[in-house]
Amino acid sequence: MYDSIINVHDLTVDLGGNPVLRGMELTVSAGEIVAVVGPNGSGKSTLLRCLAGLQPAASGEVRVFGRAPADDAAFWREVALLGDEPAWYPGLTAREHLELVGAVHARARMTVESALEEFALVERADSVPLNLSTGQRQRLALAAALLRPSALLLLDEPERGLDAEFRARLAGLLGEYAAEGGTVVMATHDHGLAARARQVSPSGVVA
């Protein structure tokens, strides 16, 4: 096994010549929930993209599960990433999106029915995602990410579009995920979600 799930050492990232991350250090152990907090433009999303192998670093080292993250199938079998709203497959309903995720992964964490209930989507299960509200689409994306088995969950502002009640419920769902041994790293502006997590700042100052 790995000593820690994530090891970030002296990470520096420039975007268009502008320094976004400077000498970032981060270590995350299995079962931890980490909230990356900070103002807009502080590099929260960039850090998540580095952890997902989608953003090359100018210098420094990023290791996830003991190796450099790579955008390949083996990596994505362990890692579930939820960033911007995904492009929903045309012609499939909300339920069918979850069915597809469940059918592809042999040991889903929950059934499609329970996911629809947990994420309050039962009544809109037959709608195509584009006809759902922004918050409902975010709940569907979260349901897909949490239905599938994974060891690491990377969430970029998971509270986007969610009402206060569901944000509280999401905190509970993430807690259950971590209790099963999963690790969560999320960029967030939500105080409730951040309060239940170890808070780190991309600038190196713990909030």
Partner: protein
């Protein structure tokens, strides 16, 4: 009220113009006029050659197929008009001027004028097509004029019908009825049932042509008048929707990103549909991922029927006089287009891989599983089309045999009409399943291409500048399909006596193309 509102629209437009680009000066007008004169000078000779070639009777064997193509063209024009709107505004006008107290009819007048111009150009082309089908046994100029009036009347009247359809549901019904009638007419024409009617129309006296053209022009004018009156009754939500759609299309066209059009079309279609979830079948992961394309296709039976019906087009073209190479090219291009209709899942994941990362299937197995549907579709379509050509060839050869058995010389026109078909007698349909893997690989390569690369160089040639970015974009996918279908293409270019070796070579080429593509593309990534 009207004159005041008109004044308002004019002043608003004048204000917008004054803040936009500089007003057209003398030099701009000179450049436009010079360009138009050059166009006329370049096109003058070929057009006059084509028109002179229309004089005289037409091959009767080609008349039916030609009439079917003209009917299909008009139906396609009406369909395109209805899909586009046709009444729409620029996104900026839709946002700022539509939701205002300005006179609606005056606001939409400019669009109305553009629609009429588009319809006149399309109608002129239709009229020329009509004359090419029916021929001009005498009085070429008058018959040309009559055909042009008929074509323009049909297109302008059809456009007016589409505008009326935007304003009211009952006119929408008549528009649909007109399109269905044209499709029925095409089927009847291609079946040969309308041969007598077409022969009578081809040899109609000038007075009859003049009466038909006048009637069509009057009906068209009445429809245009009603459509003009209905402009201010088109519901705002419909105008907003068509204007937004046009804005997306314009963005895609300006940015030369035709892939965006697929997104728009798909999203608009599925937003308007009511679906019922069905259980996902228990399949291995790659096939479970690819199943979405099968389900999507099953949910569009109309598209499936249209694709099946289009398999008859190569036969129509061959009957209209196309040679074996042209008919074969249409078969391969059609089968590639049909294959491309079955790879939208791959296209979606290429454009935005977020969902595919959540799904987490390896690229190579996903690609292999996703090749199945385009293979089935293109194989079935090509087999149908080639079988249709073979059956028509057999019937044509039987017809030639009948002429010979009664001891009569075969009419030249008949033999010309069947020449394109006779090359397809035999087991050509066997190429259908054998080209399918190569076409599936081509369709998947098309689905995997990104937006047009505008940084590619522009090559200056004596015929004009050629931007290589759009050229490469258009060739991506088709190149692989052509490569994988080389034996079939060679057979089409010079039809051999025995197809055996070509079929065997095609089987090997097709399989190697697909396997090679999946192997090369599949290195490691998620879908």
């Amino acid at each position: 009220m009207t004159s005041g509102a008109e004044g308002n629209v004019r002043s608003v437009r004048a204000y917008v113009r004054s803040r936009g680009r500089a007003p057209r000066g003398l030099l701009d007008r000179y450049v436009s006029g010079f360009g138009l004169a050059m166009l006329l000078a370049v096109l003058g000779r070929p057009v006059s050659t084509v028109l002179t070639g229309l004089a005289g009777p037409v091959d009767p064997a080609r008349m039916s197929a030609g009439a079917a193509l003209v009917a299909l063209a008009l139906a396609g024009f009406l369909f395109a008009a209805r899909t586009a709107g046709p009444v729409l505004l620029s996104p900026a006008d839709a946002s700022w001027l539509l939701l205002s107290p300005l006179n609606r009819r005056r606001l939409l007048a400019r669009t109305g004028r553009v629609l009429i111009m588009v319809a006149v150009v399309a109608g002129a082309a239709l009229g020329l097509g009509l004359l090419a089908v029916l021929g001009a046994p005498d009085q070429l100029v008058w018959r040309l004029l009559g055909a042009l009036v008929l074509g323009v009347s049909a297109a302008v009247g059809g456009m007016a019908l589409a505008v009326l359809g935007q304003a009211s549901q009952s006119w929408q019904f008549w528009l649909t009825a007109a399109m269905v009638a044209l499709l029925v007419l095409a089927v009847v024409a291609v079946s040969g049932q309308a041969r007598t009617v077409l022969a009578v129309a081809a040899s109609a006296p000038l007075t009859t042509v003049a009466a038909s053209a006048s009637t069509a022009a009057v009906v068209s004018a009445l429809l245009v008048r009603r459509a003009w009156a209905s402009l201010d009754r088109i519901p705002t939500r419909i105008l907003l929707a068509s204007s937004t759609r046009a804005g997306h299309v314009a963005d895609a066209a300006v940015g030369l990103d035709p892939g965006a059009l697929t997104w728009i079309a798909e999203e608009n279609h599925w937003r308007a549909r009511t679906l019922r979830s069905r259980r996902w079948p228990s399949l291995p992961a790659p096939l479970a991922l690819a199943w979405q394309d099968w389900r999507r296709l099953a949910r569009r039976p109309g598209r499936l029927a249209a694709m099946s019906g289009a398999a008859g087009l190569p036969v129509v073209l061959a009957q209209a006089g196309a040679g074996p190479a042209a008919s074969g090219a249409v078969v391969l291009a059609g089968a590639l287009a049909v294959a491309a209709a079955g790879v939208s899942g791959a296209r979606w994941d290429r454009d935005n891989p977020a969902l595919s990362r959540i799904v987490g299937v390896g690229h190579r197995p996903a690609l292999a599983a996703r090749a199945l549907l385009p293979m089935v579709l293109s194989g079935a379509w090509a087999t149908l089309a080639l079988a249709g050509l073979s059956v028509s060839a057999s019937l044509a050869l039987a017809g030639l045999g009948a002429w010979a058995s009664v001891g009569t010389a075969v009419p030249g026109a008949w033999s010309v009409g069947t020449a394109g078909l006779s090359a397809f007698s035999g087991g050509w349909w066997l190429f259908g399943p054998l080209v399918a893997p190569a076409l599936a690989a081509g369709a998947l390569r098309m689905a995997g291409r990104g937006p047009v690369d505008h940084s590619m160089p522009v090559i200056d040639t004596p015929g004009g500048a050629i931007p290589t970015g759009p050229l490469l974009w258009a060739a991506t996918g088709a190149d692989l399909a052509v490569l994988g279908c080389l034996p079939a293409i060679a057979a089409l270019l010079s039809p051999p006596g025995a197809l055996g070796w070509f079929l065997a070579a095609q089987g090997v080429f097709g399989a190697l193309t697909l396997v090679g593509y999946a192997w090369r593309r599949g290195a490691g990534q998620a879908t």
